[in-house]
């Protein structure tokens, strides 16, 4: 059992921040790692990245975007509620070192893991530039927080309501053209990471990505999370989730993510029918 200590609505109506009581995990966890949660007895095990780690307070934070049954159920939970199972930290930490200039790019829930990663790169003495994008200004996640740990935050919006008009790769390209970038770290939907990698490849800049295939145990026992990197099959839960983005077989990842599309829809629709008020306030 793990207790939810704090809940905040980050982006209406479906993205929430949770602070969770997890003293032991907080002492071990490193940026780039994740946990697996199971909300209750009938629940599925789903992976969520660590959005913050506070060993002094004994807490970890998660940012959850409601996209299906389990995540929607999660964001209905309140401070004081308990999660049946919390397992972690899992995966390899992001390799942090002093390189010079690092661009971090987040999309969707990807800004969650990006926050502690950006902070760690900054603390290691790098210049850290964050690029984040959304369809419109009101859909941006964590802009202010990223501003606190990065030297610069570049925003793109599809409709031009804030920052550069267009997708993240537009701002990324402008930044890469300066020629002083040593590393790009991208976390978010597979399609976004794929296009980031296509862009950085043209500039020959090393790019680390955090892969998010479907997982079950998260400890190397099932192989559900297998991805292809440089032509080799790897388990994202134990070998990753970070990999060299230029070597990832993105189409395979995206295809495998869709394996249960039909079942996910069935499960979510049935749940929504029982919970017409899908999302509650914080």
């Amino acid at each position: 059992m793990a207790k939810i200590l704090e809940k905040r609505l980050i982006r209406p109506p479906d993205v929430f921040y949770f602070k969770i009581d997890a003293p032991q995990i907080s002492r071990k966890a490193q940026p780039g790692q994740f946990v697996i949660i199971r909300l209750h007895d009938h629940g599925e095990r789903i992976p969520l990245s660590l959005a913050d780690i506070d060993p002094d307070e004994g807490t970890i934070s998660l940012i959850v975007m409601a996209v299906g049954k389990t995540s929607a159920e999660f964001v209905r939970m309140k401070a004081g509620d308990e999660i049946s199972d919390l397992c972690g930290p899992l995966g390899q930490p992001t390799h942090i070192e002093k390189l010079g200039k690092v661009i971090v790019i987040g999309g969707g829930f990807g800004v969650a893991p990006l926050f502690p990663i950006a902070r760690a790169f900054k603390a290691a003495g790098n210049k850290v530039v964050c690029v984040m994008g959304a369809r419109s200004a009101d859909l941006l996640i964590y802009e202010k927080e990223m501003g606190e740990v990065c030297d610069e935050v570049l925003v793109t919006t599809d409709d031009g309501s804030k920052g550069v008009k267009g997708v993240v790769t537009v701002a990324l390209e402008q930044e890469l053209e300066k020629g002083d970038t040593n590393l790009v770290v991208a976390v978010g939907p597979a399609i976004m990471m794929k296009f980031v990698c296509l862009t950085t490849k043209n500039f020959g800049v090393k790019t680390m990505v955090s892969l998010n295939p479907i997982m079950v145990d998260g400890s190397g026992m099932c192989g559900a999370c297998r991805v292809s990197v440089g032509g080799e099959t790897r388990f994202a839960c134990t070998d990753g989730p970070d990999f060299d983005g230029h070597l990832v077989d993105w189409d395979l990842l995206m295809s495998r993510q869709k394996m249960y599309l039909g079942e996910e829809k069935e499960s979510f629709e049935a749940w929504k029918a029982r919970h017409p008020d899908i999302l509650t306030e914080a």
Binding site: R45, G88, L90, D217, M221, C222, G223, T233, L252, E263
Partner: protein
């Protein structure tokens, strides 16, 4: 020889049949296949035991269950004493009675079996265990006064559980660390409900709590804490993490949607209860045609699970011939009764896909050549015999390896080339004082009873070590 024995007891040639669910019916449900003996049937079967003076069956059992004695109690209709007798050496009789390969162990050695069918020892063991669950009193184990010593056990499979139980009874304070959200190891996530109902496993594990053993689930050692860290807090450590890393063949198309490791397929079904989806949230895919690659118990469990999940055609693909099938004869027999297809002497060469999904396995026919290292005749491909087995779901059940999480995160732990922990067979000692290991993480995939035996031996030696008998020698790489 006593007079009694010379008086040649009369032998009853055939075993008392055990009632089973009808094969057609059971292919559609997850209820247990074998229904177990009634009291009358158990008494009939027990009568077949001639009570040998030096019973070879006991030697055939890896943990030396006093077989002759417990059967004598069944003959006397004292079922409580029968189960108590078994539990002297085996804390998981309800499990072992169901899944042990008795045909290669106790029953293989049985004297009656020399001429006729051996005594059905496994079925009698199961009977006694089930009788206790339904009618008896669980004997509260005697717990020795506290020694003040603390032992950490990693993994809650049969090996870890046995070691924990023995150490707790000796008065040590035991904590089990388990990676998954429920304890039981392969008994829980691997072996299906229709062969081993999960309530049996839960029942046996509940006994541990009575002994004061603490089980910490969701604790992945090597991540949440290391063995090195545990050794600062605990006086000894027993590593029983099993052999849970699934192997793949490395052939084309193995990452297509629809291709599972047996571990994933069985874990989704058993641990996550995907067979009840959407009542439980975890989904599983079962197409019309399921092909399982492999010939062991894991392959049989996978293919029979697929059938129960609704596959119209479920096929085993195995590269040797039927005589080499490593699965238990009983499981193969049950699978056949249920209508499982067997493609023997067949080896996959690639998985054919369409739009990202598996569609067929391209195979090649094999023939048996010269014997290999294992003494079995080596299968060799027949040139030009390629053919396709249509399959929407492909399950790879070709064995497992050592999960490196614990071995790699532990200082000074000697490993074999394949990553298993080197430990002494009799004591479980590793290259590090106070750190013990046993079960599948030492032997590679073996059996429940051998894993239990290793847990018991390690408990004995850990006890000596904790109680200050001379510093044990650690093992060295051969």
């Amino acid at each position: 020889m006593t007079d009694e024995e010379r008086k040649k007891p009369k032998l009853i040639p055939n075993r008392t049949p055990i009632p089973e669910q009808d094969p057609k019916e059971r292919g559609k449900n997850f209820n247990e296949v074998s229904l177990g003996y009634s009291v009358e049937q158990a008494l009939l079967e027990a009568e077949r035991c001639i009570g040998c003076a030096r019973p070879p069956c006991v030697k055939g059992c890896p943990v030396n269950v006093p077989i002759k004695d417990f059967i004598a109690y069944i003959q006397a209709q004292d079922f409580q004493s029968a189960i108590n007798k078994i539990k002297e050496t085996n804390i998981l009789p309800a499990v072992c009675g169901r899944v042990c390969p008795q045909e290669d162990q106790c029953e293989k050695a049985c004297v009656v079996g020399k001429k006729f069918e051996p005594v059905a020892i496994g079925r009698l063991e199961r009977f006694a265990a089930d009788w206790e669950r339904e009618h008896g009193h669980r004997l509260k184990p005697k717990i020795a006064p506290s020694t003040g010593k603390k032992v950490a056990i990693i993994g809650s499979g049969p090996s870890g559980v046995t070691c924990a139980s023995d150490l707790a009874q000796l008065g040590h304070q035991v904590t089990i660390f388990e990676a998954l959200h429920e304890p039981g190891g392969v008994l829980l996530y691997g072996i299906p409900e229709f062969r081993l109902p999960k309530k049996m496993v839960a029942g046996e594990i509940a006994g541990l709590a009575d002994m004061g053993v603490v089980i910490r689930t969701n604790s992945v050692v090597g991540k949440l804490m290391t063995v090195d860290e545990l050794m600062e807090e605990y006086d000894a450590c027993y590593i029983a993490t099993g052999a849970g890393l699934p192997n793949f063949m490395g052939i084309e198309g193995e990452n297509l949607n629809g291709v599972y490791s047996a571990n994933e397929f069985l874990t989704r079904t058993n641990l996550m209860k995907a067979y009840t989806f959407p009542e439980y949230d975890t989904p599983i895919k079962v197409g019309d045609r399921v092909a399982v690659v492999g010939g062991g118990n894991v392959a049989m469990d996978s293919v029979r699970t697929a059938l129960r999940l609704g596959a119209k055609e479920a096929t085993i693909i195995y590269r040797r011939s039927e005589t080499e099938l490593p699965a238990r004869g009983e499981e193969v027999h049950h699978a056949k009764e249920e209508g499982i297809r067997f493609e023997m002497l067949t080896s996959p060469i690639r998985i054919v896909g369409e739009d990202g999904w598996a569609k067929a396995i391209e195979c090649v026919k094999m023939e048996l050549g010269e014997p290999d290292d294992s003494g079995r005749r080596r299968p060799v491909p027949i040139a030009g015999s390629e053919f396709e087995v249509p399959a929407d779901i492909v399950i790879m059940a070709i064995g497992t390896g050592a999960n490196p999480l614990v071995p790699r995160s532990t200082r000074d732990l000697e490993l074999t080339q394949r990553g298993y922990i080197i430990a002494d067979e009799e004591t479980g000692r590793t290259s590090r004082p106070g750190v013990y290991a046993g079960g599948d993480i030492v032997t590679g995939s073996a059996t429940v009873i051998l894993a239990m035996g290793a847990g018991r031996k390690a408990a004995n030696d850990i006890h000596k070590y904790l109680m200050g008998e001379p510093e044990p020698e650690t093992v060295q790489k051969a």
